[in-house]
Homo-oligomer: 133 residues x 2
Amino acid sequence: MSETVLYVCTTCRREGDDPDGPRAGARLLEALRDRAGDAPDLRVEPVECLSVCKRPCTVAVASADRWTYVYGDMDPAASAETILAGLAAYAATPDGIVPWRERPAEFRKGVIARIPPFPEPRPRTAGALEAAE
Amino acid sequence: MSETVLYVCTTCRREGDDPDGPRAGARLLEALRDRAGDAPDLRVEPVECLSVCKRPCTVAVASADRWTYVYGDMDPAASAETILAGLAAYAATPDGIVPWRERPAEFRKGVIARIPPFPEPRPRTAGALEAAE
């Protein structure tokens, strides 16, 4: 199974953030890392700004051969469980496309964009296709 | 130089689209293909929905080892030249990050999200490397 990478924007602020404490995005990162533990095939990575500054907190999920999804409006504490459940559903698909009704409501409402799997650099030959199947 | 892929959402509609004609996104794809010609290292690909339905027309630009960017609010005709100019600036960078002032105004205003370059797979341990050999 291809590794899934969860990018968490640590630049995201939320109204009411303690100016002396960690930002909402950094708190979400910590909540996700606490809950994800040593999940195999999942990497949780901090990232500086996903350019979705109007809808904090923001995360993106990517995986080789799967669509990439960007989600906003995540709660720094309450969303961690939902995000991990959504990722498990994502990782169980071959292409990253989870049927609409099976997506967490927060993902349905919070979707910012999706991007196709990055294509192979060169068309594969018949031989390569056979080998992959 | 790594190939750049420009994804154009052909599902995007715009107010005033002729219901019997091609949608705004499909017209943008055609305008881009006309102007891009046989540009080396650039692939223009149609895609069905980038999930940015509220800000048509929408495109995404991706390239191995570079950040991916998603842009909305593109005009189906007038934006083609700007998009190609923006892509040339993108392709000239090692990581896809064009200095803010050098980005076309339409890219600065229309940015929807950006996603880091997909990371290298987790480094294998010395033991795993040996086992593979």
